[in-house]
Amino acid sequence: MEHSIKRPWSEKIYIGAVYVILIGSGILCLFPFLNVLAKSLSANWAIISGKVGLLPVAFTMENVMFVLRDRLFQNAFLISVFVTVVGSLGAVLFTAVSAYPLSKKHLPGIKFILLLYIFTMLFNGGLVPTYLLIKNLHLMDNLASLILPALINVFNLLLMKNYYESLPESLEESAKLDGASNLRIVLSIVIPISAPVFATISLFYAVYFWSNWFHPMLYLNDPSLKPLQLYLRDIILQASDENLLNQDIDALLNLSPEGIRNATIIVSTIPILLVYPMLQKYFIKGILIGSVKG
């Protein structure tokens, strides 16, 4: 009797603690974002003098409207959406297909190929040869230069492979006994129950393609191809201390105001933030494994 009363109590404390920790972390993580959001809705003078905390001061929509109306912003936005959508679809497809055979470690040669992949996580040829490769493939000033070299991210490949390995072998065994080919097993059994890992790597690829500014900076010279994150980075770094020291005064006189900088951050971050909530329904525990088994 006593025993059964005690257990729920300790459990209640545990669950209570879990909620406190999660709410606490939530508040800590929300603060900076709210600050940037508040700044994007505040007047420039209030930002400069540090008056803006979590709520806008001297509220204005002007900054956000200015950014949304800017043709360069609109263009960069469309480029980013295109690269992210096409890139993520292609990369998920390539990764999912390439990872499946790698999960069959007992097959001859597979471990070697796996090591070939892992080697590239740590070693790469560096900036100059990679640049020359892209140039020789005639991908300069071409959006494919952002997508093709990123079709397989080895980390995501390993995640995928890891997930395939964790699937109960009985699933595939029984299908094999029914005479199904490997490919058929992948398409009709493995992929349908892999929603959580597909959701995860889709998210990772989408965030990668959206956030990538480094390769656009290297491979694109035509300003009309500039994606959003490069556009954003240029604007943010304009006001960095290092730049303030090095730039000539004419550039400094043309600096965009703080409010506009913050508004640019907000409007170029929100689209990618929406991807996770959209994918969250696939993170629900065992939803699909259960259904296949049942």
Partner: protein
Amino acid sequence: MKGRIQWTSQVRRNYDLYLLLIPGLVFLAIFKYTPIYGLVIAFQEFNIFKGIGGSEWVGFKQFERLFSSDDFGRVMTNTLLISLYKIVILFPIPIALAIFLNEVGKMWFKRTVQTIIYLPHFLSWVIIAGLFVNIMSPSNGIVNNMIEFFGGEPINFFMDNDYFRSVIVATAGWKEAGWNAIIFIAAIAGLDPELYEASKLDGASRIQQIFTITLPGIASTIVLMFILRIGHVLEAGTEQILLLYNPTVYETGDVIGTYIYRMGLTSMEYSFSTAVGLFESVIGFFLVIGGNWMAKRVTGKSIW
């Protein structure tokens, strides 16, 4: 003879699986292994206008340049310390977050928290650094106001060598914990709910379930993440530290990445930066191989 027959019959029976490898191998060959010849410039005095063929070979000179600099000892120590703190302290946090989120029954709450804790990942250090300097300022930052409220002395976190590494670890954890939790959330989502049902019937408490079901269930993901993490032990967070440090805390905060940046060795010093990268890669490669071997022995799980 028998082994050989098995080998070929294995390949023949699964030829379609081998064909699936082709796109990936083509990708590797073109985009990863074609440029790898560039590593040799670590042993040159590379002049971009002359190319690899025309540049002078200098052996290990670039490596010597790195190892023989006065500050190398200090910089290496800082790198390893900060990196180790980050691994020891920060690696478990996302796992804990994922487990806690798994305990939450209310779907809206779970989703909201998940979405909120991954927000900081999307703000770059340039923006966040400024915010931290403000909230931790000894004169009017909120953190020090609280310390003073509880009767403490204000701490100048960003100028105090006793605190600086802790600040680096804490801010990095704050920024990436929620994002890193996603992998574990997904791994837990892949577990079979029947396992939980069964153990509930056996009378296991929720805390017991963590150790008997959840952790073993995501162990292979944990092992994977851990091995890959230690491969990057020499990258202690260059961008973060560059934006948060200042000369008064070089003693504890200066790492390899920040040091070579400050010495102007990242711009156009192609040979030197390749050498540093190669050094980091070789160390990382051995750690990954060693980590995989250890993991296989201890947990029975491994990447390959």
